[in-house]
Amino acid sequence: MQEVTAPPRTAPKPKPEKYKSSSELKKRLWRNKLLYVMLIPGVLYFIVFKYLPMYGLIISFQDYKPYQGITGSEWVGMKHFSRLFTEPDFLNILSNTLILFGMNILIYFPIPIILALMLNELRGNFFKRFFQTLVYLPHFMSWVIVVSISFVMVTMDGGIINELLAYFGFAKVNFLLSPGWFRPMYILQVIWREAGWGTIIYLASIAAIDPGLYEASRMDGAGRLRQVWHITLPAIRGVIITLFILKIGSVLDLGFEHVYLLLNSMNREVAEIIDTYVYTAGLRQGQFSYSTAIGFFKSVVGLIMVMTVNKISKKIGEEGVY
């Protein structure tokens, strides 16, 4: 019905709008004035906390001295960037970062989806709520606590896991210090802490699916699994892709705290990532220009990744995030 009435209404419009556009605009602005007022805090937030600090990027091309400030510091061009790329450990650090990121995408990313599908299949509101809360909880623990708990569990000196191994006649394993165990420990901790929290958005979008679709499919004789495959998953496909693109954007940004807590002299070769490197080289030694350059590099890589993935997702007919 709308489609029938719409064309004639929009067709003659362009002319008058061009004709008296400024007064029309004013009128519209005035009519929605409250909405524009509500916009102000948001815009201010982005200007103050996101756009203005960009000015600070300048120092990655300088030898920044706090006392002399940005205007007084010496310009050195790409010095700090070339130092980063020629650092002997750079390739190692970059590949460590990428491997952990890859594990995040391949192993962690699907888990909240599966968990959400499973939670959705739970019948009975009480159980559903109960389990939902249970899997959310770890998210509220800090990494320090998560890492300490696992330290206590896997330490060689009386940790429960090693005691069990010994009890069943296996050799004890030095989980904390062997480079081979760093990545599994890392990803298990990520899953334990974040998987439940990650289900929130999926559950919300599953809740929005028209129940009629399920009814219809049941009529046609579809079982539970078929329903998940043909109705639930396609319905949340858009959400999955959006979250995936956002995740890609944080490619070099794994979160410093977690890795730093797991890092020690014995597993550094696999555990040092860009974030922890920035911490030791930049903040702890006060090399502001250098750490800014690394931050700049990270952001540019993130930006390129998001744009690429977004383009791909549009090519294959999905919406993308912009």
């Binding site: 982005f46 906390f49 996101k50 756009y51 600090p53 960009m54 600070g56 990027l57 120092i59 920044y64 001295k65 706090p66 006392y67 400030g69 002997p88 330290f151 330490t155 060689m156 000196d157 009386g158 030095n174 904390l176 210090l177 954007g249 944080s250 070099l252 940004d253 020690n264 002299s265 014995m266 550094r268 030791t280 080289a281 930049g282 903040l283 702890r284 030694q285 006060g286 090399q287 502001f288 750490s291 800014t292 931050g295 700049f296 990270k298 952001s299 540019v300 993130g302 930006l303 998001v306 744009m307 977004n310 995030v321 912009y322």
Partner: protein, 517 residues
């Protein structure tokens, strides 16, 4: 989406944005204060007629070693005694380095800036040379009390031969062993006279069931992921390893190029392989190490200060009521000689940023406050608290109240900021009751006789200042890998070469150039 990508770009970006956010804290702190000390203001106003001098306003930033910011109890008293209006900005010691660097980067350091320790001081050296802090050396003679500070320690804190800082004094050599005397007595062991006996003690504590429960559930040494303030450096000095640097063939060379360093690594390797120390020490935090000791699981706590015996004892007897602790430090090396590494006599220093202190007149006013802090009256107040509330005087010594929580809450924050030491500021020494602690105090004095100083303490190396911490990581990693048997001597030497090629050679060169001067 442009907005989104920029957000990504920026959010991960800059230390800067983080910095400005942190900077906000200061203002809050400062804004809160005028109200809090309004009392002192009015008091000062009534005095104004008789005494025209207004209280000096001073902002002080310092690390906090407790969980909560102390109340104003002590501060108010100090303000009265020194005619000042103080604003303390406490920041947790754990993250103090970041706070310091970020405040510095944004030019928001207050008039009085405490650093965190010697390492942060080394890192500030470049900025100090840049002229960003006031030189105070020439002014010191104007202040009778500050002038008492020990010249040899002041000398250790000089930068390019000039003095910029006041120091917080610490005994030169507090390192040693804290051990379970009850276990040793039971097994018929004496305090270890040399490194072999130390090893034997760790072995006996592990294998001979010293807690008598019939189970093999004890270990000898408990250590943590720290090569300097953990067990390693203390034991290495007993083996005769130099304190960071020493002369070798007429040139200064770093400690890890000396054979004694390798010997020490072998010692720990053997301890670990035998199961006589905690297997995860390379990943054990201080808290976990202390817990292991105070739960009665381990017999030897090496490294750190022997004066820690008080707090270790307090927690240990909660778990093992009949445990007895003692301290020990005279452990001879394989050549039969005693040696103890020494710190440069301070554990922290204070700087006065030019960005906050406008002129020399203002600097002098601030120094006047510190001069007053070095009188017994103020030093006692800040170090011990209020007499009768936080401590009592017994035999001319201060006896802290049994209410440790009260001291922790109200005094500890200020205690760590007192300039000088009791010899120079005249404050009370502590009255000790625990026999192990009394023994520790004797040993601290004894240690100095065999003390080995770090020859580079007063020297400068630009490369060390800018890359030292990063490079030291190479050596620390290699040391742990050697102790865990992952690399051998050749592998360790390869890492030393790696250290040299990435800037270490330059550090050696620069220190030697400065040494010859």
């Amino acid at each position: 989406m442009t907005k989104k990508s920029f957000t990504l770009l920026l959010s991960s970006l800059l230390t800067l944005s983080m910095l400005s956010a942190c900077g906000g804290n200061n203002n809050k702190e400062a804004a809160k204060d005028p109200g809090a000390s309004a009392g002192t203001n009015t008091a000062a106003a009534t005095d104004a007629a008789a005494e025209p001098e207004k209280p000096t306003e001073i902002k002080i930033m310092l690390p906090l070693n407790t969980t909560d910011t102390p109340p104003d109890t002590i501060k108010n008293e100090v303000e009265k005694l020194t005619n000042t209006k103080l604003t303390y900005q406490f920041f947790p010691a754990d993250t103090y380095e970041e706070k310091l660097n970020s405040s510095f980067a944004t030019g928001s350091l207050p008039q009085v800036t405490y650093l965190k320790n010697q390492t942060t001081f080394l890192q500030m050296k470049e900025a100090i040379k840049d002229g960003q802090f006031w030189e105070i050396g020439p002014l010191l003679s104007e202040f009778p009390n500050l002038n008492k500070l020990k010249p040899e320690i002041l000398n250790n804190t000089k930068v390019d031969g000039k003095l910029y800082t006041l120091y917080i004094g610490r005994p030169l050599a507090r390192q040693g062993i804290i051990y379970r005397k009850d276990w040793a007595d039971k097994l018929g062991l004496k305090a270890p006279a040399n490194t072999d006996e130390l090893f034997a003690m760790a072995k006996a504590f592990t294998e001979q069931d010293p807690d008598g429960n019939g189970k093999k559930d004890t270990i000898g040494v408990v250590d943590r992921n720290e090569l300097v303030y953990g067990a390693f450096k203390t034991v290495s000095s007993w083996f005769g390893t130099p304190n960071n640097w020493a002369e070798k063939d007429g040139q200064l060379a770093p400690e890890f190029t000396f054979p004694q360093y390798i010997d020490t690594m072998d010692f720990f390797k053997k301890l670990r392989e035998g199961g006589y120390m905690n297997q995860d020490f390379a990943a054990t935090s201080k808290t976990d190490a202390v817990n292991m000791f105070t739960s009665g699981k381990a017999g030897l706590y090496i490294g750190g200060s022997m004066q820690d015996i008080d707090s270790l004892n307090k927690d240990l007897i909660k778990n093992v009521p009949d445990a007895v602790l003692d301290t020990h430090s005279m452990v001879a090396g394989p050549d039969g000689k005693f040696a103890q590494w020494m710190i440069p006599g301070y554990n922290n220093v204070v700087l006065f940023p030019k960005s906050a202190v406008k002129d020399e007149a203002e600097l002098k006013k601030i120094l006047k406050f510190f001069d007053a802090m070095m009188t017994p009256e103020v030093a006692n107040l800040m170090y011990w608290g209020i007499e009768g509330t936080h401590y009592t005087v017994v035999d001319g010594k201060a006896k802290a109240t049994d209410n440790k929580e009260l001291i922790e809450r109200e005094v500890k924050g200020f205690k760590d900021s007192v300039i000088g030491e009791y010899e120079t500021n005249g404050m009370y020494q502590s009255l000790n009751v625990l026999p192990g602690r009394i023994h520790a105090e004797e040993l601290v004095l004894e240690n100095v006789k065999y003390g080995v100083a770090d020859p580079t303490a007063a020297l400068d190396s630009a490369t060390y200042t800018s890359k030292g911490v990063e490079l030291q990581q190479i050596i620390a990693d290699a040391t742990y890998k050697y102790m865990y048997g992952q690399i051998d001597k050749a592998g360790f030497e390869k890492e030393v070469e790696n250290w040299k090629s990435r800037g270490g050679a330059k550090i050696i060169e620069e220190y030697n150039a400065a040494y010859k001067k």
